[in-house]
């Protein structure tokens, strides 16, 4: 470090020459934003403690591995802070506003019914996220529709990366495809996704249509909504 550098004033000047050299020597080969492009928030800047507190999260999360951006040309990447980070505080505020407005305008929805009394007769209807499951139960023997189908679906979901990696390339070979693409570009896994969502949506709408919307069902007779 020359005398001229030491005379430099302003944020980041104090430790720039010594600290940056250490970083370059000890970094794990990641592409970092070059020094001259960073925000001028050095260790002597009033906002530096904010950066340190943000950095506590990655300290907890351990060292980064080799990332995709490390192998990409600079004009196809951007620095995490602030270019990639800035939308999230805004999104957080927007979510708070939406949640607050819903809480304000939908207070009637949140008023309780009468206190629970086991002696009353009541036909329960689950919340929307369990409604499709509730409808599924009516389509066959309860034991299969509750004890077999949902656990099977969850197991397939849980193991899907392995199913995709083992069965996918075999199918691709049979079809004489060069690769087995991701679901977004794959007619088989992509269609399975759309059909799965379609079944859930159909069951959900059927349940929402109400107890009068009945359809004759071969397994259990007449099946109505909830």
């Amino acid at each position: 470090m020359s005398d001229k550098d030491q005379m430099k004033k302003g944020p980041g000047a104090a430790t720039a020459a010594t600290e940056i050299a250490v970083i370059e020597a000890e970094s794990h080969g990641h592409t970092l934003e070059p020094d001259y492009k960073r925000l001028p928030i050095g260790p002597d800047h009033i906002l530096y403690p904010v950066l340190v507190s943000l950095a506590l999260v990655p300290i907890l999360l351990g060292d980064a591995g080799h990332h995709l951006a490390d192998d990409m040309p600079e004009d196809e990447t951007h620095p995490f802070f602030p270019d990639h980070f800035w939308p999230y505080p805004i999104i957080a505020v927007l979510i708070l506003v939406v949640v607050g407005l819903l809480a304000f305008y939908e207070q009637k929805n949140l008023q309780l019914e009468v206190s629970a009394d086991p002696r009353t007769a009541n036909i329960p209807r689950p919340d929307w996220y369990f409604l499709f499951l509730f409808q599924l139960l009516k389509l066959g023997p309860e034991l299969i529709m509750f004890g077999v189908v949902p656990p099977a679906v969850v197991t397939v979901l849980l193991l899907f990366p392995f199913i995709d990696a083992i069965a996918g390339p075999r199918l691709a070979k049979r079809l004489r495809w060069k690769t087995w693409p991701v679901p977004g570009r794959n007619i088989y896994t992509g269609t399975a996704f759309v059909i799965g969502l379609g079944i859930v949506a159909l069951l959900e709408l059927w349940a929402l249509a109400g107890p009068l919307s009945c359809v004759p069902w071969p397994l259990t007779g007449l099946v109505c909504g909830a």
């Binding site: 990641h30 592409t31 002597d44 009033i46 951006a69 620095p79 802070f81 979510i95 392995f162």
Partner: protein, 231 residues
């Protein structure tokens, strides 16, 4: 004696800290790491939105627990009365309870959207299989949160919805297993005060601890793997 400039004090603190842990290096490596431009697409922020929503749920949940009483004895039960009190009497109680309720609904939507994005772009593929599995387990935890939280107000619809759930879980074969599950969930011969106590404990102690732990694992994996290839 001259008073040191606040900047010099801060610098001394930072230098002291840096000698003990490389904070400055950590700041550089985390804040200024480069991110691929394709990660700017809107559907890459669903996971971040889930994180924000879980943070809101934890915060509002703590505030609700200041007034909530997990006691289902008597009619009307103390649990019911306390929720009514939060909703109608406590200052801004309606806002905190409403935020918890709507946050939960938005959370399920965002979790499903996040999962759909990960599936669609094939981000579950090697080396990220374990993170996908952690994510599926967290989806189940979120559903368990909804299920247990639904009973806590102890009104008619909460009670009977839980009655049906427990009856279903208790119908699993063989009979001994079904009965065992039913008794574990109910904590007694009927759905009553002990059931509420159990659902409350699971909702407030067990599940938050599990989901925070798994979120840590989830983010640690993301940090190690980086963002996945674009579609």
């Amino acid at each position: 004696m001259a008073i040191p400039h606040p900047r010099d004090i801060q610098l001394a603190v930072v230098n002291w800290l840096d000698e003990r842990y490389p904070f400055t290096k950590a700041v550089d490596e985390s804040m200024y790491q480069r991110v691929p431009n394709f990660a700017n697409a809107f559907y890459y922020c669903f996971g971040g939105m889930v994180f924000i929503l879980i943070a809101i749920q934890l915060l509002t949940g703590v505030l609700l627990s200041l007034y909530y009483v997990p006691d289902a004895n008597g009619s009307p039960a103390a649990a019911y009365t306390s929720v009514n009190f939060i909703q109608n009497t406590v200052y801004l109680g309606w806002l905190i309870r409403g935020a918890h309720f709507w946050g939960a609904n938005l959370l399920i939507i965002m979790v499903l959207l996040h999962m759909a994005r990960v599936y669609w772009t094939g981000s579950y593929r090697a080396p990220r299989e374990l993170n996908w599995m952690v994510g599926v387990i967290m989806l189940l935890l979120v559903l368990a949160f909804s299920l247990t939280g639904y009973l806590l107000p102890w009104d008619t619809k909460a009670y009977f919805a839980t009655l049906v759930t427990i009856k279903l879980a208790g119908s699993l074969p063989p009979v001994q297993l079904g009965t065992f599950i039913k008794e574990i969930l109910q904590g007694g011969p009927v759905v009553g005060p002990s059931t509420l106590q159990r659902f409350f404990t699971v909702h407030v102690f067990l599940l938050p601890a599990l989901i925070v732990g798994l979120m840590y694992v989830h983010f640690r994996f993301i940090r190690a793997h980086g963002i996945s290839e674009p579609l």
